[in-house]
């Protein structure tokens, strides 16, 4: 099938729209509501074209290509109408910055976006650096509006976990509703109200967690304006770091695109947009990494207090302290949160260096509380895994962890661990296949990855041979890795479809204790009508 677009003859496939044919051949037709993975919606009226033999100006996104069609995308009529349609969109969008003739000077003086409570223009919009409406306005050279814009003064919804919804910025393109339906069959995020009251929200104005939202964040990803935004990422600027890696929270192995600015991760989105992420993968990683309680410096007990020391001092203190406990009086407790390499190092340390048979690895899904084998007097814990009475019975506790826990309070030494996107190596997915874990950001404070800490410890114990061998093995393994990301997922991971299935603990710590929103995603009952005033 052939169609002609602006005098170019192009091949078209059965079922393709005129817009899709043009885009596939690098002919740009401006569009907002169209998205490649969604069915055509035809509401923004930006992709209007002229087609010989067809009356009016059809939307190219919803017009199927037909053999012999002759399409014009840049005639004067098309351009004028497109411009008028965008002007109509801008009239109900805070567009003062777009038509400000001091714009250039302003952008030179303050190129960064400015954080604010309520957005009233591009300068203080979370989407300032990546906005489709702004880009189109600049492309079409609109510098003035026929009449002043209208601010809807609708209520800015800031009470939901992770997601903020400012209807005053919304242009009602409907992509959020469409992607929600695409991922979850029945959309949670829908267009409500009519006429001037039309807005994006939930049925009966219920909060997201009472509406069945799984917090996959796809609506935020697809919003062309700053209307739906990620509360944590909102005021970060342009990413200076972009890494593609495997989600470290569970074994579904979803590939993430991770953005960071100034060594801080601020956003993680799905590499494969055709399937949703779960609330943990999409929203929880940046706040969990940057919570203020992180253990960031090595500390050892000096008298009655933990004192901050250098890594060398910490290694020596721990090595000396553990020396009398070689054999089965030592146990190491960890879970499967770490990379394959980290867990290998922990096992080698327990079995070969400490000569103990008590390497205890808690399986995913198990209650992260263990009972120690009898006779154990010293433990190395990589998380919050022991009850208080078990801790009391111990002579020495070494904590290699990311957050404070009851164990950390009784520890002889605290070794701060790098976690999640601060680590590199391999993660095993649910099918047993190794997937790459890339480091997206440097560890918090002086934290180090588990295997680095373990080799440091082994060295301090005088066993440089084992330490060197272990480091060599791990480095070669990471360097020669041929593990691949899952760029196309066969199906959506279970926690992305059912929010009650998301993991609640990481290294034994309740995730919600560090990131309250991660707890607030759990479904709540909708108020019964009698309670609705």
């Amino acid at each position: 099938m052939k169609i002609t677009v602006n005098d170019q003859v192009l091949d078209a496939n059965e079922g393709e729209s005129v817009l899709e044919v043009a885009l596939r051949h690098d002919i740009e037709i401006p569009h907002i509501c169209y998205h490649p993975i969604l069915p055509a919606n035809g509401v923004c009226r930006m992709c209007l074209v002229e087609i010989d033999g067809i009356n009016g100006l059809p939307a190219s996104c919803s017009t199927p290509a037909a053999d012999g069609m002759v399409v014009h995308t840049e005639t004067e009529t098309v351009r004028n109408r497109r411009r008028e349609n965008l002007e109509l969109i801008l009239l109900e969008h805070p567009s003062s910055c777009l038509v400000c003739y001091k714009r250039e000077a302003c952008q030179t003086f303050r190129p960064e976006k400015e954080k604010t409570g309520v957005t009233t223009g591009c300068q203080n919009c979370p989407n300032k650096h990546d906005c489709e409406v702004q880009r189109l306005t600049l492309d079409l050279g609109i510098t003035d509006l026929p009449v002043g814009s209208f601010y809807r003064n609708a209520e800015f919804d800031r009470d939901d976990p992770f997601i903020e919804n400012d209807p005053n910025l919304c242009i009602l393109c409907g992509r959020c509703e469409q992607i929600c339906q695409y991922h979850h069959d029945t959309p949670v995020v829908v267009l409500t109200g009519r006429g001037p009251d039309a807005r994006v929200g939930q049925a009966f104005d219920l909060p997201l967690n009472a509406s069945g939202c799984t917090f996959c964040g796809a609506c935020v990803d697809l919003c062309p304006t700053g209307s739906l935004s990620d509360r944590f990422a909102r005021w970060y600027g342009v990413a200076d770091g972009l890494v593609k890696t495997t989600c470290p929270f569970c074994d579904a192995g979803c590939a993430l695109e991770v953005k960071s600015e100034g060594h801080r991760v601020f956003s993680a989105t799905a590499l494969d947009q055709t399937k949703p992420l779960c609330a943990l993968g999409r929203f929880t990683i940046p706040p969990f990494l940057s919570s203020r309680d992180r253990l960031t410096h090595p500390r050892v007990m000096a008298g009655e207090r933990l004192r901050e020391v250098t890594w060398e001092e910490a290694f020596t203190a721990v090595a000396d302290g553990l020396a009398p406990f070689k054999g089965d009086t030592f146990a190491l407790v960890c879970d499967r949160s770490g990379t394959v390499e980290d867990r290998h190092a922990l096992r080698v340390f327990t079995e070969e260096v400490m000569d103990s048979s008590h390497y205890i690895e808690i399986e995913d899904g198990e209650e992260p509380r263990v009972e120690l084998p009898t006779g154990v007097k010293a433990v190395l814990l990589t998380g919050d895994f022991l009850e208080a009475d078990a801790l009391d019975a111990l002579e020495m506790v070494v904590v290699l962890d990311c957050y404070p826990s009851p164990a950390a309070e009784k520890a002889t030494a605290i070794l701060p661990a790098a976690i999640l996107l601060e680590t590199k190596g391999h993660l095993v997915d649910e099918n047993g296949v190794e997937r790459p874990a890339k480091r997206a950001v440097r560890p918090a404070g002086q934290a180090k990855q588990d295997h680095e800490i373990i080799t440091g410890l082994i060295t301090a114990m005088g066993d440089e041979g084992t330490a060197g061998k272990l480091t060599g093995e791990i480095e070669t393994r990471i360097q020669d890795s041929e593990a691949e990301l899952i760029t196309e997922r066969a199906e959506a991971p279970a926690p992305a479809l059912d929010v009650t299935k998301i993991r609640t603990r990481y290294r034994g710590h309740l995730i919600a204790a560090r990131v309250p929103d991660a707890g607030a995603v759990q479904p709540v009952a909708a108020p019964v009508p009698s309670e609705v005033v």
């Binding site: 910055c97 223009g121 509006l145 814009s149 209208f150 909102r234 005021w235 100034g262 203020r292």
Partner: protein
């Protein structure tokens, strides 16, 4: 504790907060500000005094919600309390009959400019008030301006209310026509105040801008609010907040205001 008397949303992002602080209201003068802490352990934030009333013992602030501390403040309802109000701080404006005075306000400066204009009018000046906003619905206090101004010029960036453009553009056009202005006062964002300075400099009109750096103690001890004016380091809290706008290092002011941006973002969650 200081009781919040009223909280009125004047624009989508700005609130007029009236707080009981009789000691501040009793001695406040035009050009001064007060420091406010919402809770015992909140950040200390300076707010321009937009008005005060000795009789009721109240002071008025225009508060833009920009982050954690301002957010906590604008969510206080009448009857709620705030932990501390310290003031009045800063140097009062020098008040004389200069002749014609132009007062240019934008953003929170739409409130901040009120005491300035009123005092200048009382000293016998002819007062022209230029108030700029992004769009319709973001102007407020028109009745107040009219009470002291010989002329009020309203502008919006998109032309939805008043004249399309910025207050300073109208001033520039008039200066070019030869209209005489003897002194200019400007309160708003650094960018707007910088533009005002650029417009009045060639006409050699003394221009004063209320600088708004990050401030801590407000009494000249910590130096957090230092800024460069005429190649000298000044403290906005005790030497200002009004400074000769032609001498201010605006880029330094901008950069110093963003010094804690990462922390500011992190506490907003």
């Amino acid at each position: 504790m200081f009781r919040v008397v009223s909280n009125r949303k004047v624009t989508p992002n700005a609130h007029e907060m009236v707080v009981e602080a009789p000691e501040v209201a009793r001695t406040a003068q035009a050009g001064q500000f007060a420091l406010l802490m919402v809770d015992e352990h909140s950040e200390r934030i300076p707010y321009t005094l937009a008005d005060w009333d000795e009789a009721t013992g109240t002071v008025t602030f225009i508060v833009l919600e920009v982050g954690k501390s301002t957010g906590d403040f604008v969510h206080r309802q009448p009857g709620d309390e705030v932990a501390h109000v310290v003031g009045p701080l800063g140097m009062p404006l020098e008040v004389e009959n200069f002749g014609t005075v132009a007062c240019i306000g934008g953003c929170y400066g739409l409130g901040g400019i009120v005491p300035v204009g009123r005092t200048m009018k009382a000293a016998g000046n002819r007062v022209i008030t230029y108030v700029e906003a992004r769009m319709e619905g973001m102007h407020y206090y028109l009745d107040k301006y009219e009470s002291f101004s010989d002329e009020v010029v309203q502008t919006t960036t998109d032309g939805s209310n008043g004249i399309k453009g910025h207050g300073v553009d109208i001033l520039e056009a008039r200066l070019k026509e030869g209209v005489r202005v003897d002194r200019v006062f400007t309160i708003g964002c650094p960018f707007m105040m910088m533009l005002t300075a650029q417009v009045t400099k060639p006409h050699e009109i003394k221009t004063f801008a209320a600088l708004n750096p990050i401030m801590l103690d407000g009494t000249g001890m910590c130096g957090a609010c230092r800024c460069t004016v005429g190649e000298e380091t000044k403290f906005a809290c005790v030497d200002g907040p009004f400074f000769d706008a032609h001498e201010v290092d605006w880029h330094e002011l901008r950069d110093r205001r963003a010094a804690y941006i990462f922390t500011e973002r992190d506490v907003c969650k």
